[in-house]
């Protein structure tokens, strides 16, 4: 059986290198039969794509998708650096 460390490393590469995702900003943690995803992506569709790519790469794992969608609204206030 593939060790969790190698598995997590291979899944990270899959999410970074698969053209559907190209995400380097998603953390992937494998524990037992679970894989937890965390971090931020730009939109809801990309959040689902990360899950899809991971599921194809490791269909036996149960995915906990805690990835958030980055807010893109106007800023609240400003930082005064004077």
């Amino acid at each position: 059986m593939e060790s969790e460390q190698y598995l997590a490393a291979n899944l990270r590469r899959a999410v970074a290198e698969d053209p559907r995702t190209a995400e380097l900003g998603v953390r992937i943690t494998v524990r037992g039969g679970h894989v937890m995803l965390s971090g931020d992506v730009a939109c809801e569709e990309r959040r689902a794509l990360v899950e899809e790519v991971l599921h194809e790469a490791a269909p036996e794992l149960k995915i906990l998708n805690d990835v958030r969608v980055t807010p893109a609204g106007e800023p609240h206030g400003e930082e005064d650096l004077r």
Partner: protein, 240 residues
């Protein structure tokens, strides 16, 4: 007084068209200039660059950008830059942009930057050809940044990069990957040139605030960090 808006790592593609536009159309109410700290696309294709160009076109303030590693992925950085420039976005790579607002002048010097690591924990231009090329790329870029910052004669000088010039703003990232996230050589160039602010992206798990060894403020404006369409910093020049 000049208000600088900045964001990096927006990673636009066709699926994101118009996503930032509502906040961008109001950028003039918040700021006098908008800086883009690289990774504007996902795969660096000209098609994605066209989405970026439309998203940031015709804004009420000047838009100044550098490219990031994602914008190089399709090996067409010049075409990507040209696509942005055709819509009025000023793309810097070893070059500068100056602007005047509220009686104050601001100069931006921009480079992509690169990795290598930070003082005491960095790579050297030694050994295999690939390793020497890796470090030499950073050395060349840092030298270019220093030259561009030195040329600026404005009340306020800002360094715009994609990669980080200090480790402070990487806090939250695994320390093992710091050498892929930035280089102290960029910080050294910033400290040698009387720069007021350094703005970068790239580190999605980092932290917003940091400082160079010489006391220059550094801000990581990767969108997952600032959690809005842009962050705004208010600066005052020495002679304004």
């Amino acid at each position: 007084m000049i208000r600088v808006a900045a964001v990096g790592d927006v990673h636009l593609g066709e699926d994101m068209r118009g996503h930032l536009r509502p906040a961008l159309e109001k950028v003039g109410e918040h700021a006098d200039i908008l800086l883009l700290a690289g990774d504007l696309t996902r795969h660096g294709t000209v098609e994605e660059a066209a989405v970026v160009a439309d998203e940031f076109a015709d804004l009420p303030v000047p838009v100044v950008a550098v490219l990031g590693n994602h914008d190089h992925h399709d090996d067409k950085p010049l075409e990507v830059a040209k696509t942005l420039e055709d819509k009025g976005i000023n793309v810097l790579e070893g070059t500068t942009f100056t602007h005047r607002a509220n009686g104050c002048s601001i100069g931006i010097a921009g480079v992509k930057g690169f990795g290598g690591g930070f003082a005491g924990k960095c790579g050297s231009a030694f050994g295999e050809r690939e390793m020497k090329a890796f470090i030499q790329h950073t050395c060349d870029i840092a030298e270019t940044l220093k030259g561009a910052l030195s040329e600026l004669d404005t009340d306020i000088k800002v360094a715009l990069t994609h990669y980080a010039p200090v480790p402070d703003t990487l806090r939250g990232e695994p320390p093992e990957i710091y050498p892929f996230l930035g280089s102290y050589l960029l910080g050294e160039a910033i400290d040698a040139t009387g720069t007021h602010l350094a703005v970068h992206g790239h580190a999605h798990f980092g932290t917003e605030q940091g400082m160079t060894p010489g006391g220059v403020r550094v801000r990581n404006v990767a969108q997952p960090i600032i959690r809005s369409a842009y962050a705004v910093y208010v600066l005052e020049g020495t002679s304004s």
